[in-house]
């Protein structure tokens, strides 16, 4: 007997995507702007977030979630900024998912948060599959990692909204070729804004802060915006991120977008 075929259409990550949409919607209702940060281990996520939290803590209610396989070291580092920080210890799981975000924020009052920064587990592969309900996803690459990082990990760059080149104070020592790196970013994700920063010398930090402020204003305008009905079809209809094309980059740190 030949087997019978039942047609179905089920997104394998449907549960995560639905939950991420719910999160995004409750974040927007409460006026929380959510930015997530992905990179390989050691690209400087925690150091950069430490800087951002310290700077932003004085101006707005900023909070952070930080994911790691083990230890609460990063949360302890980030908490020095004075901002509320919570560690998500994933155990053996190589990425954060929407349920982890939901669970870790159960007792936080969203109305008391303006900006939430989420540091994903250091991993350039797995986090790309999971929507966390963020407004913008930042992908970081440090100058010591090689200009071809975007070509090696195109999916994470393609699913992110903004690229940040970190540790630019080491650019010369690492013989970092900025033009090639930015060209590679534009190749895998045309039009992607690229920012450059050193969390050590603070070079580029003001521009990044300005960018975040602009993103926050854009998100506030969207807070009354009702997303389309939830679709359970392909992953292609991921919840809509901020209209990144409308975000203007601070002068002097603009992306080199090819013609």
């Amino acid at each position: 007997m030949t087997p019978r075929l039942i047609e179905v259409r089920q997104n394998v990550l449907k549960q995560n995507d639905l939950l991420a949409r719910e999160l995004r919607s409750s974040f927007r209702d409460a006026g929380v702007t959510v930015l997530s940060f992905v990179s390989s281990p050691g690209a400087g996520k925690t150091t950069l977030l430490e800087k951002l939290l310290t700077e932003l803590h004085q101006k707005m209610n900023v909070a952070a979630l930080v994911g790691d396989l083990a230890t609460e070291n990063d949360a302890a580092r980030l908490a020095r900024s004075g901002a509320p920080v919570r560690q998500i210890v994933t155990g053996t799981v190589c990425h954060l998912d929407a349920e982890m975000i939901r669970k870790s924020m159960v007792d936080w009052r969203l109305e008391q948060i303006d900006l939430l920064l989420i540091e994903n587990v250091g991993n350039m592969v797995c986090p790309s599959s999971y929507d966390l309900g963020e407004d913008l996803r930042f992908v970081l690459m440090s100058v010591t990692e090689g200009e071809d990082k975007p070509l090696k990990y195109p999916t994470i760059f393609n699913t992110a909204d903004v690229a940040v080149i970190t540790k630019i104070d080491l650019a010369q020592a690492a013989e970092f070729d900025r033009a090639t790196a930015e060209q590679n970013i534009q190749s895998v994700r045309p039009g992607m804004p690229v920012l450059r920063v050193s969390a050590k010398t603070n070079d580029g930090l003001a521009n990044l802060l300005k960018f975040i402020q602009t993103a926050r204003e854009a998100a506030s305008e969207l807070s009354s915006f009702t997303p389309n009905e939830v679709s359970t079809g392909s992953g292609s209809d991921r919840a809509e991120p901020l209209p990144i094309a409308d975000l203007r980059l601070p002068a002097g740190n603009a992306a080199t977008v090819r013609d």
Binding site: P3, V8, R9, V12, N158, V188, V257, R258
Partner: protein, 115 residues
């Protein structure tokens, strides 16, 4: 390496559909997989057998259909197949485009069951 948890989700999803249909024996699961899903095909196939062990899907096959990446070209006003995810440019006119319309699928499309 998150393919094992993806495989477990596929098994759960398939078992749920099967249960709704009176729990027939599932012979195969059809899956559409796009390169932008972030899931590696070989790792998923490897994980699938492990995920099926001890479930109603034990012994079933995972049949993966690779879905190409398609992006909209604003210059040609049409959907174009992107040959390499390292280079998002229109194959026709060379215009860069990030307007992906297909290619991040991770979608169970059909189940083969014993009649």
């Amino acid at each position: 390496m998150h393919e094992l948890s993806i495989a477990l989700s596929i098994v759960d999803a398939a078992a749920e559909v099967a249960a709704r249909r009176g729990a027939p024996q599932i012979k195969a699961v059809h899956l559409k997989l796009g390169p932008l899903s972030g899931v590696v095909k070989d790792a998923l196939l490897f994980s699938y057998d492990i995920a099926c062990e001890g479930t109603a899907l034990a012994g079933s096959r995972l049949l993966i259909e690779d879905v190409p990446v398609v992006a909209y070209c604003p210059q040609c006003h049409s959907d174009q197949r992107i040959e390499s995810i390292q280079r998002f440019t229109c194959p026709g006119c060379g215009t860069p485009t990030a307007d992906v319309v297909q290619g991040d699928e991770l979608l169970v499309t059909a189940l083969e069951i014993e009649p």
